[in-house]
Amino acid sequence: MTTDLHVVQGNETVAPGIYRLSVGPSSPSAAVPAAVQPGQFHMLKTVAPEPLLPRPISIHEVTGDVLSFLYEVKGAGTRNLAALKPGDPLRVTGPLGRGFDVDALSGRILLVAGGIGIAPFRYLARALAEAGRTQVTLAAGFRSRPYGIEDFQPCVRDVRIATEDGSEGVKGRVTSLYSPRDFDVVVACGPVPMMRAVQQGCAEAGTRGILSMEARMACGVGLCLGCTIRTTTGMRRVCTDGPVFPGEEVFFDAHA
């Protein structure tokens, strides 16, 4: 867990409003990066004074000491990221949070992604494959054209796509792509309403649900208590107690 200036190596559009950013250490002598677990995230902040706070972005891929992120432009913070050019400095703090426990994921594994929720699954899928998990399915839902779904095979054996406008794959919601009963564990990342639906399906089917939660963050490192969600074990910080939580622990009513 470090905080320092990295150097942008690449920052390309992969779909309208979706970018893939890669950053490397600022000097060869920089500290060896800590090992990153799938599902962990980094706080990213450009040198621009506004917005004040860094933004949490999941790890998308790790190659040597180069970190990659897949992100969607939403507001000022991600707009600043999108303006980065190779060679630009970027403050990177991480890796942060508790990621996916690969050892605890086994049997028939379903990864459910909603939109940019696909971001952490590429690195997770690789880790699962390296851990010998062969029964991994990816179900990804998008509003319109999909993105970030390349390179999942051969790590996952089945990629299912849904789009709300029917422009590709099945027309409809991602939850229409699978039956929770067919899986031993469902791992989901996406907008809160999707997570609620996924977890509800899991609960009804008796399937284990694992959710990577979102929250507005200030520090990302556990200092401010700004990112808490209500869980069966009390208020928990998404940044340090999560972002990955057992689905049955999360109360969705706590969300605005």
Partner: protein, 306 residues
């Protein structure tokens, strides 16, 4: 006068404690000092003010808790904390060694709760109490204790006898008459004052047509408030005889120097440490470099000169 190669002396005396430098981690922006350990050891700082403690554990507020504004941060955490008993029993033993200046920040909504909470914490191994009187006073129609001199004085007077440790009272910038509140707290027995807490502020989600926060208003901190906080620090420092710890939007070593020039004994830094986890030790280094470059041997040379 120091020769150019004498390192400047950053130490600060605060209520009998000697701080290695004037930069204290602000309450609510530093947890209990443990989360920062992967980045640096908090002994690099002048001290730590803990997350606000209340007599009983609190879950804090629901809904959105953070919102960014231009150069500012609004928060509505709602004093989420494990309560003083859990703090004293479980947390304090773990963190006692992190800093030679451990300040327990205590909040409350009723005077009786304040007295009980302060009594428990002051009896434990902390170095100082910081009384957060910005919390709404349930008995007085929800106005914060810190808004009126009379209310502020009564809570200070009530906790004073049970507080065997130095007592610092943290003032609210929303006070009706800030200097009046400061004088009333001094008169009622405070050993030091700290200011400012967050400014009462409002953010509206115009698309949803509602306030961003469930509580409607929330507290504004960060660089946006610095010029007002600096003015208030000077106003209070000139009015009272006890030491004043200034804060509000500090981002750099030069900002610290400005607060010292405005009369502050030491400072606290909150939001900047959320923006970047190593901000506080960087600020300490910047202050040392600034003093060296400007030939300032120690902080007393510039304190209150503006």
């Amino acid at each position: 006068m120091p020769t150019p190669d004498t390192a400047p002396d950053l130490t600060v005396e605060l209520c009998g404690l000697t701080l290695s430098n004037p930069v204290i981690a602000a309450s609510g922006c530093f947890g209990f000092g443990e989360e920062i350990l992967p980045f640096y050891h908090p002994s690099l700082l002048g001290g730590i003010s803990t997350k606000g403690l209340t007599l009983r554990p609190r879950q804090g507020n629901g809904g959105i808790r953070l919102h960014e504004t231009r150069a500012g941060l609004m928060n509505s955490i709602g004093l989420q904390n494990p309560g003083v008993a859990a703090f004293v029993q479980t947390i304090l033993p773990r963190i006692r060694g992190l800093t030679p200046c451990l300040i327990a920040n205590v909040g409350g909504h009723e005077i009786a709760d304040f007295v009980e909470a302060v009594g428990m914490v002051a009896a434990a191994d902390v170095d100082m109490i910081e009384l957060n009187i910005s919390c709404p006073n349930i008995k007085c129609g929800g106005q914060a204790f810190g808004n009126r001199a009379g209310d502020a004085a009564s809570v200070v007077r009530a906790v004073r006898p049970v507080c065997g440790k130095p007592l610092m009272v943290k003032l609210s910038p929303n006070a009706d008459d800030l200097v009046g509140v400061a004088l009333a707290c001094e008169e009622a027995g405070a050993d030091a004052l700290s200011l400012v807490n967050t400014f009462n502020a409002l953010a509206i989600d115009v698309h949803a047509r509602r306030a961003v926060f469930d509580n409607v208003t929330a507290g504004l901190s960060g660089p946006a408030i610095l010029p007002i906080a600096l003015r208030m620090t000077r106003d209070v420092a000139r009015a009272v005889k006890i030491p004043v710890v200034g804060m509000g939007g500090i981002e750099t070593g030069e900002d610290v120097a400005a607060f010292i020039m405005a009369g502050a004994r030491a400072v606290q830094v909150g939001t900047a440490g959320l923006v970047r986890p190593d901000a506080l030790p960087v600020i300490v280094e910047e202050l040392a470099r600034f003093m060296a470059a400007e030939g300032i041997a120690n902080l007393a040379q510039i304190r209150g000169i503006v």
